[in-house]
Symmetry: C2
Subunit: 459 residues, 2 copies
Amino acid sequence: MTERKNIAIMGAGLVGSLLSLYLAKHGHKVDLYERRADLRVSTIDGGRSINLALSDRGWRALKGLGIEEEVRKVAIPMYGRMMHDEQGNLTHQPYGKEGQAIYSVSRGGLNMALMNLSEPNQDITYHFNRQATDVNLRTNEVQLRNVETGNTETIQPDLLFGADGAYSVVRGAMQKAERFDYQQSYLEYGYKELTIPATADGGWAIEKNALHIWPRGNYMMIALPNPDGSFTCTLFFPYDGEHSFAAIQDKNDLLAFFNKVFPDAVPLMPELAQEYFENPVGALVTVKCFPWSYKGTSLLIGDASHAVVPFYGQGMNAGFEDITVLDQMLQQFEGDDWEALFKAFERRRKPNADAIADLAVLNFEEMRDKVADPRFLLRKKIENKISAQYPDKWIPLYTMVTFTDLPYSYALETGQKQDKIMKKVMRHIKSLEDYDKPEVQQLLEKQLVQKEKLTPFRG
Amino acid sequence: MTERKNIAIMGAGLVGSLLSLYLAKHGHKVDLYERRADLRVSTIDGGRSINLALSDRGWRALKGLGIEEEVRKVAIPMYGRMMHDEQGNLTHQPYGKEGQAIYSVSRGGLNMALMNLSEPNQDITYHFNRQATDVNLRTNEVQLRNVETGNTETIQPDLLFGADGAYSVVRGAMQKAERFDYQQSYLEYGYKELTIPATADGGWAIEKNALHIWPRGNYMMIALPNPDGSFTCTLFFPYDGEHSFAAIQDKNDLLAFFNKVFPDAVPLMPELAQEYFENPVGALVTVKCFPWSYKGTSLLIGDASHAVVPFYGQGMNAGFEDITVLDQMLQQFEGDDWEALFKAFERRRKPNADAIADLAVLNFEEMRDKVADPRFLLRKKIENKISAQYPDKWIPLYTMVTFTDLPYSYALETGQKQDKIMKKVMRHIKSLEDYDKPEVQQLLEKQLVQKEKLTPFRG
């Protein structure tokens, strides 16, 4: 066990709150500083949450503290995508094998659960309404302003963790230090949250155990179920152009457009117009940077070091996996060389953070466009057959990302190789039955001889 | 002519100073605010200048104001690269055709010349020692601190130009606005300035009219001539590793290393050790961002919007070309829609700024490594033969960038196509004479039929 440290975590969101539990487990004293008020006594920002899809990497981090069953109670399994076409016809595509699911959870609900689990720990203290106004990396001093009273204070922890999200103040200080690589890029799309409320009898108006998608080529709407019978819908829509936020100026524009392209959803959305014009348009940013640490005194984690767009449902899961990896490293950690620890951590995680950022952007295209294409759905079925026939040589990309702990960078690279093989295979496929044709089987055998066995390493 | 505006330019460097002259020509009142003291009355920062290579794009902007002859007096033509190997043997490679040259100029000297030309203009006022501490893009207010007196003032111009360089404060404000794409990336190399002084009789110790390179694979030194007989040398060197700034700890390390790898230069550098340990290590950053403007009130220009590494000698030239393009647009400009003007400007320049940034990084490899390779030099000669034989179909990449006003993006794309053809051609080439072999001539004819005629557009 290493020396006990006074640790400050900036940001008491999902990653900050979970991290506090792990650091306390390793014997450290932890203070969390959060700009916003306590979620549990105050209403949260409305209309900007995007429901979260908890998958294997996220569960693993919760399991490491024995709290996964607590969370499972408020999580709704989604076993596949349910596509809605412009006539309201439905098509279902499973995410994985029988029983494999991603889980819809509310960001606020999960955050409160983590706070409630950590606050009784006498080594963990939450400080709300504290805005970091200045970070001095060299002295590790942070100036905080109490947004309720206007008072300021300065803290000087032994170690500073920046879990303060995509617009991290700690990262802002690093950006001014020497030789900090940094990139922020925005999609030409924004998002807006809408609601399908519960039915009169408290049930779900559409299939409960699915992630619903209305794919429309250049834009899409999705819906995730909530425990109270409602669905949180998110419209991903261009800022400008023929069909865009800019093109919808009033209620008439809105209803004409929604009735045309989402006709089966409109009757289920009684507050559509009010929500549309009241809720803000959220921006979709990807952030990449390096390094993630400054000497042995501060470290970025979660969105602060690798904010991704939401289309792979992996933002929170990647942040939680950061914590799992850090925990593994802390279990091996001896002595007091935090600089070496932080450097080893950032070197190990950076390629994976880059990979999931790129995968998330690529998956937007798949969700808004390809899932409406019968050829694409046939290809997914063929791929499932390959994976069933060659289980030690082929795991579909989505499965690697969502249902394993294979490194994201390995998943991306392997997925690209598999994509090339799929393109060759699909030239011979007109229907699912064609999978058994000799030329398809011979092609697969030839291709898969060249392909290495899967899962050469984990990390 | 459009309405006369009060314009503030942040930064009175090369781009800011030249821009002031063009804006005044278009009838506007211009104030320049510069953090540093007046170069003409105070010594400049030592050891961080990198001599500049003025080429066609830069000359064009000077010519537009009729000031090119003034500058030519203090500029030294460099007709080619002079390579120094580890035994001190020399190889010369011309930059272009007979008479084509890039010109070594001193940053400080050129800046002073531009200030002296603009200051008598009653519409142009310089304000030195003014540091911008805050920029409010919505109100166009800039807070300035006088670094001599400590006094602060707030200005509110009609239009604000950010010509404040790679670490632009105006860009910093834009980065906090909505949906601003931004990227800063550093090479793993730093640079250090050294000197070869004039000989006792005031002459140049090595060939005056060349850019000298000591290419050593993973690192290099270059030297550019000055009018006083001296050369400004720049060592481009890894921060870490076997041969690196980190590996040279004292004078013994330094001399052992320099005597081994730059033996012909050491006797010419009497102050080597002192300069090496006194001069700072400069960082090599590339900055890309978009948009470059905020509404119709502020615009980034030069390094502020597109800082590049120095290896193509195009940083200043690209900034000056920004001004040429803006001038062309202002000549067509009617009415008062500066937002549309700024948007048209950034759309036109952005692909070219990205291209020269990428070309500059690629050219580092060429300079430090490939120019020492006889095969590479043979290839350059073969390429010159192709260009002479097919002048309307082939301009070498370096020539397009340096001696034409073809868009950088077009040069990059065409250069990549030509590179593919050169690879095919060089399979048949062992010596310069092989160029006339029938299979080479047939290959070229076949390849060049597919290739479009050059210069389809300019911009």
